[in-house]
């Protein structure tokens, strides 16, 4: 329709309004549910530095544990991190004066490499790394056709990555990309497989006696401002604003039997919930 303000509008509840208006934004919240696209799928991220970079000693038992799950009824959406190679390309890129968005674009290749490594090992189950360009759009098709798929955990932010408030490392890395897939598709569980038992009061690699935090709220954890976390800090922000995912678990993949337990909903690491 054409109106007095010389713009051609389409009739809808958002027509003619500024999408920057606070009142309008709240109106898109009220009384509306969000549908879950893949409510039965489990999202599991296999750490780059923490698992794959350790080679066969850590990776083969994890692959065996995933194989047992893939033989069952569960659908697994598996992601990976870039690990040591991402750290290396960051250091070279920074030395060359390149910005955050370029670092983000470069690092996608490392997680994709690890996705292909994991895909080669899970090939007997028909589980392969899906190219990022088609992953999102075809995911529901894959989830119905095969017991599992692998994606590089990176969100496709690339050149459009946000400059971080401190330094120039891309803030949305593979933990964030994995979280956003689980949230958008409304998946059943979200598990981060690392090489520590969960979140400790201090870095357990330097303080072996540091107590484990069994469960904690995202806001509470943010307020604690621990000097280090076993996952990207931005996850706490993402969980706070999540609509469908209300918790995730961080577990130790060096005890691979915990992966199946986590998928069953058992508490075997640190549970971080939306508070």
């Amino acid at each position: 329709m054409s109106t007095s303000d010389q713009r051609h509008h389409l009739n809808s509840m958002l027509m003619r309004e500024s999408l920057l208006d606070k009142e309008l934004m709240s109106s898109t919240e009220r009384g509306l549910r969000v549908r879950r696209m893949l409510p039965e799928a489990h999202v599991i991220k296999i750490g780059g530095s923490s698992i794959i970079d350790r080679g066969r000693e850590a990776t083969f038992p994890v692959v065996d544990a995933l194989g047992v799950l893939l033989d069952g009824d569960d659908t697994l959406l598996l992601s990976t991190g870039g690990g040591a190679r991402t750290r290396h390309v960051f250091s070279i890129g920074i030395d060359l004066g390149l910005p955050t968005g370029v670092l983000a674009q470069l690092s996608i290749a490392d997680a994709l490499g690890n996705a292909h490594i994991l895909g080669s090992l899970l090939a007997p189950w028909g589980v392969v790394a899906i190219p990022p360009e088609m992953f999102g759009h075809l995911l529901p098709l894959f989830a119905r056709a095969v017991p599992g798929v692998i994606f590089n955990g990176d969100p496709p932010y690339s050149l459009w990555e946000h400059p971080p408030s401190v330094g120039r490392i891309p803030p949305h890395r593979t933990d964030a990309g994995t979280f956003l897939v689980a949230e958008c598709f409304g998946c059943k569980t979200l598990t981060f497989v690392k090489d520590v038992d969960g979140i400790h009061e201090q870095d357990p690699r330097h303080h072996p006696d540091a107590p484990l935090i069994s469960e904690i709220g995202a806001r509470e954890l943010q307020a604690r401002a621990l000097p280090q976390l076993p996952f990207d800090r931005v996850l706490l922000e993402l969980l706070t604003h999540a609509r469908l995912i209300d918790r995730f678990q961080v577990i130790n993949g060096l005890h691979p039997e915990r992966i199946a337990a986590a998928v069953r909903g058992e508490h075997v690491g640190t549970m971080v919930y939306k508070d």
Binding site: S12, W160, E183
Partner: protein, 274 residues
């Protein structure tokens, strides 16, 4: 293991946690290269410009053409009315923010294609994100490219704090391109003379603000602002793109004045040191 190839920072990045604040602060040191320091990012509004049709679009296309040979322009497009319609239908059907982001991208792409066809006879291409490696060449050869302003986050778009609409839309996507390339300027072509104390379309007493810092603007906590709020947040962390200008594209000559660096519209600065 001490490596002789890695820098000290490289050694720390490989052995320490990327959640460590001191390590993150260290990554700010060293040079920051501006990749395309002569380029201007120009965002043409969707609802504010393109949805008005030829009365608004033909003059701005003419003005872009007049500036070829004088200024390099990376031209992003807004989404506008059809995105609002798609968001509205999508929300009613209980779809998540990531899916709405996909829908918004399609509309912004339609607008980019239309501007591209109007500029095609001048050899100006439309590029999708995957073609960005060719952008510097097109810019060197033809002085302009057209891209869709929506950041390619698709299903990975984050939820807004309130509501369901994707928070990072075409203002943000265009801004991030100006930051990553270290562009000379970021110019938003809209249908208002910049920033007002209230929406001038609704409030006759709204007064114009010629220059303001992002921090002051955030502190004013206006019900409605002229640019997506995440842009103001991102500006405060930005290394290169420390100011943005918002101009009224319905007034002939404004784009040229903005490209020349003249005071027109509203200048929003990051304020303070980066």
């Amino acid at each position: 293991m001490k490596s002789e190839i890695l820098t000290d920072l490289g050694q720390r990045l490989i052995s320490e946690s990327l959640t460590d604040e001191a390590l993150m602060a260290a990554t700010a040191e060293g040079p920051h290269v501006r990749i395309l320091p002569d380029a201007n990012v120009v965002k043409i509004g969707g609802q504010s410009m393109i949805d008005r049709g030829r009365s608004a679009v033909f003059p701005i296309i003419d003005e872009i053409v007049q500036n070829l040979g004088r200024h390099k322009m990376i031209i992003g497009t807004g989404a506008g009315t059809r995105a609002r319609h798609a968001y509205s239908v999508g929300i009613d059907l209980e779809l998540p923010t990531g899916v709405l982001s996909v829908l918004g991208t399609f509309v912004s792409m339609q607008n980019a294609r239309m501007l591209h066809f109007l500029l095609a006879k001048h050899g100006i291409p439309f590029i999708e994100p995957i073609q960005f490696p060719q952008l510097p060449h097109y810019l060197a050869e033809r002085d302009a490219v057209v891209f869709f302003g929506m950041p390619p986050y698709t299903f990975w778009q984050q939820n807004p704090k309130v509501g369901r609409i994707p928070p990072h839309r075409t203002d943000t996507g265009s801004y991030l391109i100006s930051e990553v390339f270290g562009a000379r300027s970021m110019i938003y072509v809209k249908d208002e003379d910049g920033l007002y104390t209230a929406d001038p379309k609704k409030d006759k007493h709204a007064t114009h603000i010629p220059e303001i810092t992002a921090e002051e603007l955030i502190a004013m906590d206006l019900d409605d602002v002229v640019v997506e709020r995440p842009v103001l947040e991102l500006m405060r962390s930005a290394v290169h793109s420390r100011s943005i200008r918002i101009i009224n594209g319905l007034v002939p000559g404004n784009l040229t004045r903005a490209l020349e660096g003249e005071r027109v519209g509203t200048l929003i600065t990051a304020g303070g040191a980066s």
